[in-house]
């Protein structure tokens, strides 16, 4: 039996506008660029909704209707859902329709798609709780499987997430962690009891996400029968094929004219041609399969770049400076009880801000440059730090009506039983 487990990351950050030092103290709207640049959040959301979310959702709904056993799963960041509510309610509706079929599972993550687990476990728990509330409110479901920002993962995270009551957690099937072992089985995070680990099959995932339209690739063009054939080869030496990717793969990273939607449209029927195959959601996989071994992941890994580590967000001095600055404000920000201020502080925790400051591959004009809406990583840093300067001023200027009323804002942390 080989079960295909699709999970799509759906996320858009609130990008910081070209916020200049002269705006500090005068303008506290950091995310409202309205230019033609790709830091205009509304413009980007409309563009991606038109190219990806709406057409991809239409194909998914068609497939769910056509194949009663077809299943998928999504991880929506809270900031993405916020932007749908604000800029594109029709897109939100189309996602709600998919979830309403009962065969599109929703995963848990931090509301702000943040690196909070690395810097503030309390803030991490608050953001997970906020996310759960949001998913319950918009989709009427309660996630049981957790996926951390950009598949950042280690043993400590698995322990924390197990404590919070989740049954499963998702991570990258990185070679440096797996060694000779296969990502096509479930694992048990080291030292845990009740949580199972699903690992991304990055070869097959990246065949779709990165290589699909690459003419230099020996296997180009990728067709649904060819891919189904590869997937079936797992039969006999694996139980589950975890295909994890950005949802923007469909129509945005791989444009419609590459044939990506047709590929998707025909994939389930090709997969079903091999009678041993089926589709599962992460929670079904967890119910069905037992872990084959314990996996020890001491250092953080992620799904980013060839290094599969934290270097996309945390490799140069600017990135460390920026992230330490934002988390060093935690106590003061929460003490204000100013909802707007706290929300802005959290929006500034989104991992993309630090990704934009990455200089690792900047020379080679590669993926980091492609996904960077700023002219240079240095401009991303300057705008971000200027916004933090304004935040500090807001904290300083905050005056509660009565001193007794100033208490840290509490967000309830629920545990699933």
């Amino acid at each position: 039996m080989a079960s295909i487990c699709f999970y799509f990351q759906v996320h858009q950050p609130f990008r910081v506008k070209d916020y200049r030092v002269f705006d500090v103290g005068r303008d506290s709207e950091y995310f409202n660029d309205d230019s033609e640049r790709s830091i205009n959040n509304k413009k980007i959301l409309h563009k991606v909704a038109g190219k990806c979310y709406l057409p991809a959702n239409a194909v998914m709904l068609e497939l769910l209707n056509k194949h009663p056993e077809f299943k998928i799963s999504f991880s929506f960041s809270g900031v993405f859902l916020d932007q749908l509510e604000e800029f594109s309610p029709e897109t939100l509706e189309s996602f709600q329709k998919l979830v309403a079929t009962g065969r599109a599972e929703v995963l848990e993550e931090t509301y702000y798609h943040s690196l909070s687990f690395l810097y503030s476990p309390e803030e991490f728990r608050r953001q997970v709780a906020m996310h759960r509330e949001k998913i319950q409110k918009l989709f009427g479901v309660t996630p049981t499987v957790f996926r951390n920002t950009e598949l950042i993962y280690n043993n400590a995270l698995a322990h924390e997430v197990e404590k919070m009551g989740y049954k499963g957690i998702i991570a990258e099937g990185a070679d440096h962690v797996l060694g000779w072992r296969s990502p096509n089985f479930l694992y048990k995070p080291q030292g845990t009891k009740n949580i199972k680990l699903l690992l991304k099959n990055y070869r097959l995932s990246d065949d779709i996400a990165f290589r699909f339209s690459s003419k230099e690739w020996a296997d180009f063009p990728l067709t649904a029968p060819k891919f189904a054939e590869w997937a079936s080869q797992v039969n006999g030496n694996g139980q589950i094929i975890n295909l994890f990717m950005d949802y923007e793969t469909f129509g945005e990273h791989q444009w419609e004219d590459t044939g990506i939607f047709n590929f998707l449209r025909h994939l389930p029927e090709e997969i079903y041609k091999h009678p041993d195959n089926d589709f599962v959601t992460p929670s079904e996989a967890i119910a069905r399969y037992e872990p084959v071994a314990e996996l020890d992941v001491h250092n953080y890994m992620s799904w980013a770049d060839v290094e599969r580590d934290l270097s996309a967000w945390l490799s140069n001095a600017m990135q460390h400076d920026a992230i330490q600055s934002i988390y060093s404000m935690e106590g003061e920000v929460l003490a204000t009880d100013d909802a707007r201020l706290i929300e802005d502080w959290r929006k500034l925790q989104t991992s993309d801000h630090f990704y934009y400051m990455c200089t690792k591959w900047f020379n080679d004009g590669d993926v980091h440059k492609y996904f960077n809406p700023y002219n240079t990583p240095y401009e991303a840093f300057i705008a971000y730090m200027n916004a933090l300067q304004d935040m500090k001023l807001r904290i300083h200027n905050y005056r509660a009506p009565e001193l007794d009323d100033i208490k840290p804002k509490k967000v309830a942390v629920h545990h699933i039983s």
Binding site: V21, N316, A317, H320, D321, A322, Y378, F381
Partner: protein, 410 residues
Amino acid sequence: MRVLMFGWEFPPHNSGGLGTACFGLTRALANRQIDVLFVLPKKVGVTASFMSILFADTRKIKFLEVESSLKPYVTSEGYVRERDKIISDIYGNTLLQEVRRYALRAREIAQKESFDVIHAHDWLSFLAGVEAKKISGKPLILHMHATEFDRTGGQGVNQDVYDIERMSMEYADGIIAVSNFTKEKIIKHYGIPAEKIEVVHNGIDECDYANIPDSLSELKRNGQKIVLFAGRITIQKGPEYFIRAAKRVLEHNPNVLFLVAGSGDMERQMMLEAAHLGISNNVMFVGFLRGDDLSAVYRTADLFVMPSVSEPFGITPLESIIAGAPVLISKQSGVSEVLTHALKTDFWDTDDMANKILGVVSHRSLWQTLWGNSREEVKKITWDAASKKCIDYYAKMICDCGVPPEVRVI
């Protein structure tokens, strides 16, 4: 292959990027075993012992000096003034007459010497290149380090100079532009077809900048930050935008010192402007610097700013990075095409400039990342890479011109 090159004085006697470029390129060509016959107007004179310091193998380079009062770097107002007035030298000729006289001497050289290709740098030597081609029939390549539009900031373009540039480029077999920025200008203002223009970016050899003295660290006591402008104080270099950005910076952070290193026809105007804005205490005019003095200033600076209105290439940012200061450069420059690890701005956007200057002086992490990455990047921007492109281009021109195979020496 032997190149007849019409060039300009080498460092340390030069007063601008043209001499540095001629030197860097010639040395790299010699290292690639190309013979260069280097013709230049005699002003300071080039001694054999000096050449043996500059070149490892002097056999590759032969120098020919021509008695002439021509000098390469005269710009904007000063340029216009010198260009039009009677030069009071022993010849008593106008600049244009002198350019023509130089061209006639070039004709004599071309008659006597043997070579495969002619390479002339900037308009003052273009007629010499044209004459050499007429006599020898060898392919002519013109190297555009700056156009008349760059030198004058587009204001008061001299028709005679423009005509010489245009006529020469039309007559030449190929043109080397120091950037795409310059190539576009040549296409737009001179009507030269794009296929006739090859872009060869300048380079820098970091070994030329070893042992930079740390003599100005005193300036930085009290934690004062230093922001540097270094270049001719002329309209082309955009000094007024630097002064205006300084004003904006100082409104936010008074502990920044702005150094202006250079001289030029706008120097007095800039001093008055600083006084008028009430920032004279934070703007220091240190005059024209070269060599170790200039390197020491670069090293002391926290940021080097090049706000040029129109900069065909701009080697100074590369020098600054090697010496120890990251850079903020105008987008209207050729160097911005090869330098990714630099802050970039439109020269007229002084608010953006000030915002970026404040970013660097406020955040050590930004300084560190920017400088560290640019330092690595500059290592790849070499004269050797530029010379390689020139050699390939020579070879192409020699073939294109129908030179018979028996005289090809490639």
